[in-house]
Amino acid sequence: MAFFEMTRLALKWAVTRPATSRYPFEPRRPMPGSRGRLLFTRDSCVYCTVCAKKCPTGALSVVRSQKKWGIDRLLCITCGYCVEACPKKSLSLETEHGTPTVTKDRETW
């Protein structure tokens, strides 16, 4: 039985810098390897549709005849399976999450 176990911890933290950051004044920076927003590089894409077939949530759509690549940001779970599968390395994951998606439109390139 002890009554003052917490007091020691509380006193220590009363004079220590806060463990929390002052968000949103100090934005949180993601770690170097974080999985964030999916990035598409149009120049190297050959529209092979592998990414769309592999995507576990069906967020990607590729139309080879029209050379269109599209993503539904609300469905994407940033798992990185498409990045792994892409034969031309046209896809990559940013570390930042990017801006919030506010419309249900499919982004197409």
Binding site: M1, L9, W13, A19, M31, G33, S34, R35, P56, I77
Partner: protein
Amino acid sequence: MSRTIIPFGPQHPVLPEPVHLDLVVEDEKVVEARPSIGFVHRGLEKLVERKDYQEFVYVAERVCGICSFIHGQTYCQAIEAIMQIKVPERALYLRTIWGELSRIHSHLLWLGLTADAVGFESLFMHAWRIREKVLNIIEATTGGRVIFGSCKIGGVRRDISAEQQQQMRKVLSEIEVDLQEVTKVFLKDSSIQARLCGVGVLSSADAHDLGCVGPMARASGLSTDMRRLGYAAFKDLHIEPVVKTEGDSYARCAVRCLELFQSIDLIRQALDKLPEGELAAKVTGNPNGEVMARTEQPRGEVVYGIKANGSKNLQRFRVRTPTFANLPAMVKLLQGCDLADVPVVVLTIDPCISCTER
């Protein structure tokens, strides 16, 4: 004495997850508890018919938001057993390291919630402050904070570089010092003891008969730990289950506190022995056969039953999660306890309802 039925949950301040209990009380004593679940059923077991067996790793990881990695790992182990894939040693060690990190973060989450449930807000903040450091290690090595996404059939997706290993050792030493301070409060402070000691006592025989798993069983004196089966890298690591014999809420709290240090020790052992080599084996063809896989999650033993018929979609997929195994014991513990102790008793089984309902 007239009986009253008091509904508890599905939304309740101490419970972050939806389980409903009809508490039949006489005066202030609970005489019967009737649980009902099914509020967050997602039908993940049915989803095997639509997702192919490789994509399903992502679904398996999402069975639970806390022990996500070990769910993915168990699923991969099951498929690897059916397809007889030899997983590279380095991948097995990395899986072990991530599995133990997820155990530390799950136990710290539970300790925080318990402190909050007994009304100890500042201790809750301290437990979660330490948890944040663990989540940062996880994010740096896997890319996600709770959904790791680093396990795949045949191995792992990411490596832990020498620099990251060095950083991980440094942070683990810091965490160990912090944990010693915080767990001392959990184990010695009189207000915590007054709330947990002697509350919800489960005897060893009852724990065995009701099929308890994990820290719940270990706190009642049953030395069960699936890690001793030697899956992943546990075959090469020294592991001694943390066992307490009191069987009350305090013992369950103590088991989890001590398991934190055990996990840190296991990560250090795994980092010392981490072999060089490939990260993943090549996977070809489709699974055909039936298999059971068992691993130790933060909450106890999880069992995966998988049946495949040679097509890319599995035929049957079944998960028995640890909380499901611990629910009968919880109902037993609630009989005869005070109404004011109900939140503590419910919380000490570490309920993960989204796991249970899949």
